[in-house]
Each structure stands twice: as C-alpha cells, then as structure tokens.
C-alpha cells in the first residue's frame, strides 16, 4: 500500500507540472495584449515597453514559465489588471466559499444519495424504488441552473423559506452561514445525489444477491446487519469512485450556482475574469482549480485504499 501511495504521489506531482505548463501556454494563447490591458488604453509606447519588461513578456517562453512558477511558489500570483488587488488575496477570499459550498453539496449528495440508494435496493420492486429512481432520473435530466432559478422563484421569493442570495461566513455566524448555504448546496448536490443514488442502488443490489450474503443470511445474520455490513461497505468503494469522477461537474455547477445565488466563490471569479480579460487572475484561478482537482483525486485514491481491501493486499489498483 505504501508503494501504491508513493506512486500516486509522484504521479500527481507530474500531472501538476504538466497542468501548469498547459495553463501557462493556454493563457499566452488568449487574444489581446496583457501589457496593454495592464497599462491602460491611453498608454504611450514607452510605458507599454516598461510594462512588458515588468511582466517579463520579452523573455523566451521557458524563462517566462520558470519565472511564473518561481513567483507562484512564493505566493506571488500577480495583480488583477482590473482592480490591482493581489490575486492571491482574491483567491484567498473566494476559495473558502466555494470549498464550503462544494463540501456541503457533496455531503447532501452522499447522504441523500446513499439513503435513496439503500431504500431503492432494499425495497426493490416496490414503490420506494420507483420513487427514488424517479427522483434521480429527473434530477439527472434537468439543467442545474434551471432548477436553481426555479428554486429561487418558488422557495425563496414565493414561500420565503430560504434567502434568495447572499453569503455569511461561518466564522461570523455558523448557523446563519448554514442557512444561507443550504439552498445553493442542495441545488448543486442534487444531480450528484442522483448519480450516487443510482450507483449505490446497483452495487447494493449486486451485494444483496451475492452468494456470500446468502450464506450470511443462511447462517442467521439479521437483514439489517447484512445490508449495512456487506452492502454498504461495497457501496462505499463505488461511491468513492463516483465522488472522484463527479468533481468535474461540481465546478461547472458551482459557477452557475454561485452566479444565481450571488455567492462570492472562485467559480464566479473564474468566469468574470475571463470576460474581463484579467489574465493574471485567469492564470492563477485555473491553476488553483486544477491543483485542487489533482489533490482531491489523490485524496480519493487514498480513501480508496482504506475502503477497498483488494488494493491494500495486492498493492495495485485493480
């Protein structure tokens, strides 16, 4: 297992380096001149040249890349060309919000999804299964932003059950923070809950009808015990994989959710920075997002090893 983890560690590091190169080249491929954007519209050639030198734009590409990496590791991710704020501060302010939203959404997704999946598997063929399946299929067939807007219009405006927008930091007021984040997290997590529910159900069904479970029941173990000890354990493996694969959709959903509910998160920052051509911000934000993805994938793999005994024993992923 240690061998496996060390392998994953250096693989992730390599991916991170490759990703940073892709981000670096990608930002350079964007149209428009970053020096012009920074110096302003009225800048004369002398100022422009000075800004270019300051941004290091005259150096050969590999040198620029190394400068970029060097500064990034030191915490200097540049300044926004629009507002002049250090990018690291902007990320520091917005990343926690998105992390809170994503974690909350995943929590809802996993809890609701697994509950639904267990229900559907245990009551197979009867109405709870139909209900659970119906919900999950609907959740997978409707775009998140549409649900979000409808939720705002009906649950927030008409019924007043939730606030229509806004964010409260948990450091200020934990209960209000949760209240403000509930509707966005529920909307964001809904489609993922559906995926988790379907996977849980199918793996539970597989587990429940497997031979070893029949043996356990024959030996006299109670139904609940069987469900939870064997069924759920297997499902955890599947759910962990699913969480890992779902991350891609989570960031897209986060951008949309943050926009609809006006949450000051990094998804919103990404979109806004592209529309305003704020290159330092785009570069840093994409780098942070990809680094987070790589990190989370690594963590998921670690989690995998804890949950899937096959890996622990053989030392390789199957």
């Amino acid at each position: 297992m240690a061998r496996y983890l060390i392998d994953r560690l250096w693989q992730s590091a390599l991916t991170l380096v490759l990703a940073s190169i892709v981000v670096f080249l990608g930002v350079r491929a964007l149209p428009g001149d970053p020096a012009l954007a920074m110096a302003g519209e009225e800048a004369d050639p002398a100022t422009l040249a000075a800004v270019r030198a300051q941004l290091g734009l005259d150096e050969p590409l590999p040198v620029q890349y190394l400068q970029f990496v060097g500064k990034a590791l030191g915490g200097d991710l540049g300044r926004s060309t629009r507002t002049g704020t250090p990018v690291i501060d902007m990320i520091g302010a917005t990343l926690p919000v998105t992390v809170q939203l994503a974690v909350y959404a995943m929590l809802i997704a996993v809890l609701a999804g697994m509950a639904g999946g267990v229900l559907a598997a245990v009551y197979r063929g009867r109405w709870p299964e139909w209900l659970a399946n119906g919900f999950s299929l609907t959740a997978l067939s409707v775009p998140t932003f549409w649900l979000g807007i409808l939720a705002v219009v009906y649950l927030a405006v008409q019924l007043g059950w939730f606030p229509a927008s806004g964010y409260v930091s948990p450091l200020e007021n934990p209960l209000r923070a949760i209240y403000y984040l509930t509707l966005p997290a529920a909307i964001l997590g809904l489609s993922h809950a559906a995926v988790v529910q379907r996977q849980t159900r199918s793996s539970m069904v597989g587990a429940l009808t497997a031979d070893y479970v029949r043996t356990a029941r024959a030996k006299g173990l109670g139904r609940a015990t069987v469900v939870f000890r064997y069924g759920l354990r297997n499902s955890l493996i599947v759910v962990t994989t699913v969480i890992g694969l779902q991350l891609g959709g989570l960031i897209a959903g986060a951008v949309v959710t943050e926009r609809i509910f006006t949450l000051p998160g990094i998804g919103k920052l990404t979109l806004d920075s592209v529309f305003t051509r704020d290159y330092p911000v785009i570069q840093a934000v994409v780098l942070v997002i990809t680094a987070s993805y790589i990190l989370i994938n690594l963590l998921v793999d670690v989690l995998y090893t804890l949950v899937d005994p096959r890996i622990r024993v053989s030392g390789r992923a199957s």
């Binding site: 149209p31 009225e42 902007m90 302010a93 927030a156 229509a164 926009r259 000051p264 806004d272 051509r277």
Partner: protein, 546 residues
C-alpha cells in the same frame, strides 16, 4: 359500461386534440404604447424614520476602480454618490445645483475665467480639512494624471488657482461651456489630499472623500460596503448605518431578491420584470428617461485606431452614404421598442434626449421607417439585395435580444445582418482598433450635449470609434461648446443632428429609461436624469403602515 366510458374518453381526447390543432386561443395582442412619466423619488423630508440599519442594494454590474480620475464605469458613480460628493450635483428637476461648491460658477465675459466659491469648515472622511487647496489638488490630478479619463471632459484649462481657502478660479485657453456639467460629474469629485499623498495611484482601493458615507470594504466581484461618516457636514440628515452594494448581474436575480426582501434597492430593472414588480405592494418603482442613447456605430474610417486620422475603408457601408441611409431607413424603431422592451423604452434618432434643455425640433426629428426606400437606395448604390453586413454586439442578454430583433427589422430593407456576439471587454478593444463593420453599443449620457457628441464624432477624438470626420460637424460642435446661451446652443446642436442624420456615421436606435425599484420600507431613494441611484440619504421607515 366500460365500453361506453372508453368511447367517451376517446372522443374527449379527439376533441381536445382537434381543438389544440385548430388553435383554440386567439392571438394575444401587444400592450398599447403608454406615456411614461418620470418618477424620481423624493427625499425623506419630515417623515418619521427608523434610525440605523444596513441597506442592501443590488448593482447590475461591477464598478471599476473607485478612483474618480480614472474611472469609466457608470456603476462606479452609484457607489461614489454615497461616499464622494462633487462640486455640483443635479436636483430632481435636472438642474445643476451646488454641492461642495456654494454657488454656480461665474464666467467672465470672454469666457476664459471660471470662478466659484467652495464650502469651508467641512472635513474629509479621514478628518482632514476640505478647502480650496484640496479642490485644486483634485482638479489638477484630473487634468494631469496619466490615464485620466477626465481630462477631455474639462476643456483647455491652463491653470487652477485657489486664491482663498473658499474660492477656486479656472483659467481657460478657449471658452468651454460644458465645464459646469463636467463638475457635476466625476471631474467634480474631490479627493482627500492626505489620502492621495499616501496612496497615490492606489487611491481607488481605499477612496477617501467628503460624503454621507465612507468606504469600508470591497470584495472583488461581490460587494462594496460603506459605513456612515461621522465627519460629514450634514450628518444629521443621514439615517442609515451602512450600505452594502451587492453585484448581481442577472436582472431576474435582482427582481427575485427585491421580491423576497433580500435586497432593498436594485437598478436597471428589466422592462419585462417591471410590470410584475409594479403590482407588488411592497415595492416602489422609480423611472427616469436616460440622457444617453443606444446606437449602431458604422466604421467609416477607423483603420489605425480611434483618434488616428481616418482612412478610407472598402465596404459598401463605409464608402457610400446612400447605403448607410438605407440602413437607417430600414430600422423600425417603434416596433422594436414595443416588442423587445415591452414599451418601456423610447425610439431615439439623435444623441440629444428630448427632455434635455438643449433639445429642439431639429434634434427630435426621426426619419420614418421606410423599407421600400431602403431597397431603392441600395439599388441606386448598385448593391446586391440582400446585402450582407456584420455587427458585433456585447453578449449580454438584452443586447443580444435587441440585435436579433434588429436583424429581423433590417431584413425587410434588404440587409442580411450577421450578429457576432463578443464579450464586453473585447468589444471595447474591437471598437478602439476599428476591427468592425457595425457595432452595437450604448452611452449612458451626459447632461451637457457636448458629452454626447464631440467625443464620439469629433475628428480625431479619442472615442471616435467610427473614424468619422466632418469639418461642418466639427465647426458646429466647437461653436456650441464656446457659447453659454442655451437657446443658441440648442439651435447649433439641432443643425449638427441634421448633419449626422444625413451622413449616418452613428445610427441611433433607442433610449432607455432608468428603472429602479426599491422596497416600500425604505424612503429617500432618488434617481435623477443622470441615471445615478442615490441612496445616501435614504432611511428605513418604522415598522407600521407605510
């Protein structure tokens, strides 16, 4: 028994089906055009109010840097209206009144000296004293700072003097009538010299001025918080503790938040939402006609960049004024406005709003919608019909909808309009470089018509994106900016409009109304003809019948 039920079921379904197919609902016609009366809001006055509280305003776009010298965003003016007073301001009727100055400027007979008194005994938000020296520092910064957007708004000033702590004198090379209006806008915002000295170019990160509120915090792309300023000279009239400006780019989100009460004021309400919001008993609607315009700019000479000498361009639109006239004649402005904007906005054919004191019959004239004439002109110009033309548009929802409607309208006149959606910042780039054939863009409008005309159509002007150059037009505009007689200026602007409508470098399409909605629990929210939402003296009403 079952048989009969089954049969009646089938019959019912068949009946419904055929009814559906036949179309059982008649066409629902458009609402008739209504006269819109400006509702600008009223001050709190003597009404009993609840002291304190935090007002939340939904802003439709993010302000740029909060620096009066370099700012070019309309939304920055909203925030500045509560933290940064100006030498002059507007009143409810649209007249210029003193704010940090104490009287309207006195202009010498030759027009080269402009002097006005300023307040004394007033302090900036950081406690430092406000006086004429501070005013001079700010005015000089507006004139001299690299990247200043105010310089061209202030005219040819040779020097600024502060002979006494309570008076300012501006010396001009040539007379410049629009200066009063400019000082009622960002050029008149006075910044604390102490803050300027310590922050320099970074003033916009933590602005310090004179105002009912002072800057507290900004979270980029999310919100700006301002809190009550104890040093304000009129602090007794300030009731709120703080104001939060939250950035909400989607109109539906602003409308939803207004109805749910999460936001108490919101600007730029969509004409499609206003009717529903008007019916809400907890909300009040403010509306005022804009002094600006929305238009299509035609590239007639911008090859090397705006401000550079124009060069000929080889497209039918650029070469032949008949083709441009055909385009202008093929826009059905009234129908566009009633369909796309639910009859809330008005058609526009000139850069001067009809409610401006500088409007005249000549500037209000609107060439009729005549697709037949458009086709005739195209035939005369020897152009194939349909003539393909490309128009770049900002990819915001409202702009795209209007562009699609415009496309349908000009098709009748023989134009095949291709829409190219582009991000707003790219659009600004494109317009500067001149890499466009047609461009759809608006202007928020200035009180003084010079601000709506010379910067966009004057030869060599920095914002002359179409590369238009007409000595006749330049002469009329220059003459108008030197005169201080409103009637004379109106006549000149009328003649200038006739030139524009003959050459069609810019085809004006519509003029919007600023639609602002606020909660009935809040009083003292006002919006004047400059479109700026003023919440600095607003207050919450006590919790009873309002």
């Amino acid at each position: 028994m079952i048989h009969r039920n089954r049969r009646s079921q089938v019959l019912l379904v068949a009946a419904l089906g055929s009814a559906l197919l036949a179309g059982c609902v008649p066409v629902q016609p458009l609402a008739a055009a209504v006269e819109h009366v400006d509702v600008v809001g009223s001050p709190v006055g003597d009404r009993p109010v609840r002291e304190g509280g935090n007002l939340v305003m939904g802003l439709s776009a993010e302000p740029d840097r909060l620096d009066p010298t370099t700012s070019s965003s309309l939304y920055t003016r909203y925030v500045m209206s509560s933290i940064c007073e100006k030498l002059y301001d507007l009143d409810a009727a649209g007249n210029i009144v003193p704010q940090l100055a104490t009287a309207l400027p006195t202009i010498s007979a030759d027009g080269l000296t402009v002097s006005f008194p300023v307040r004394t005994g007033v302090r900036f938000a950081d406690g430092t004293p406000f006086d004429a020296a501070a005013v001079r520092t700010s005015l000089e910064r507006h004139l001299n700072l690299k990247g200043s957007q105010r310089k061209s708004e202030m005219g040819a000033i040779t020097s600024v003097d502060a002979p006494t702590p309570g008076s300012i004198v501006l010396h001009y090379k040539t007379p410049f009538a629009p200066i009063t209006a400019a000082l009622a806008d960002r050029a008149g915002m006075i910044m604390s010299p102490a803050a300027l000295a310590s922050a320099g170019a970074g003033f916009g990160d933590k602005p310090v001025c004179v105002g009912p509120f002072k800057f507290a915090k900004r979270v980029p792309q999310t919100s700006i918080e301002v809190v009550r300023d104890p040093f304000y000279y009129d602090a007794a009239k300030v009731h709120l503790d703080s104001i939060s400006y939250r950035i909400m780019p989607d109109a539906i989100t602003r409308a939803a938040n207004l109805r749910s009460g999460d936001v108490q004021v919101a600007d730029t309400i969509s004409p499609q939402d206003v009717d529903a919001l008007t019916k809400d008993r907890n909300l009040r609607v403010l509306q005022v006609g804009s002094l600006g315009y929305q238009a299509v700019t035609i590239n007639t000479g911008n090859v090397d960049g705006a401000g550079e000498p124009p060069k000929p361009i080889d497209t039918p639109l650029a070469r032949d004024p008949r083709v441009r006239a055909a385009f202008a004649a093929s826009i059905d402005r009234q129908t566009l406005v009633s369909t796309v904007f639910n009859n809330w906005f008005e058609p526009a054919c000139s850069p001067i709003a009809p409610q401006s004191p500088y409007a005249s019959a000549a500037s209000n004239v609107c060439p009729p919608f005549d697709p037949a004439r458009s086709r005739q002109l195209l035939a005369e110009a020897g152009q194939p019909v349909p003539l393909p033309v490309r128009m770049q548009v900002s990819n915001s929802q409202d702009q795209l909808r209007f562009a699609q409607a415009l496309q349908a309208s000009v098709a009748e006149g023989g134009f095949d309009l291709q829409i190219v959606p582009v991000e707003y910042s790219t659009l600004l780039d494109v317009q500067k470089r001149g890499s466009f054939e047609l461009l759809q863009l608006g202007w928020s409008g200035r009180i003084d018509p010079d601000g709506n005309t010379s910067r966009f159509l004057g030869t060599g002007a920095a914002a002359n994106y179409g590369g238009y150059s007409s000595p006749e037009f330049d002469g009329l505009i220059a003459q108008a900016s030197r005169s201080t007689d409103t009637a004379a200026r109106a006549e000149l602007y009328g003649r200038a409009t006739a030139v524009i409508q003959r050459d069609n470098p810019i085809v004006y399409t519509y003029r919007l109304r600023s639609l602002t909605v606020h909660s009935a629990q809040v009083a003292g929210v006002e919006v004047y003809s400059d479109g700026v939402v003023r919440v600095g003296r607003a207050a919450f009403l006590p919790d009873e019948e309002s």
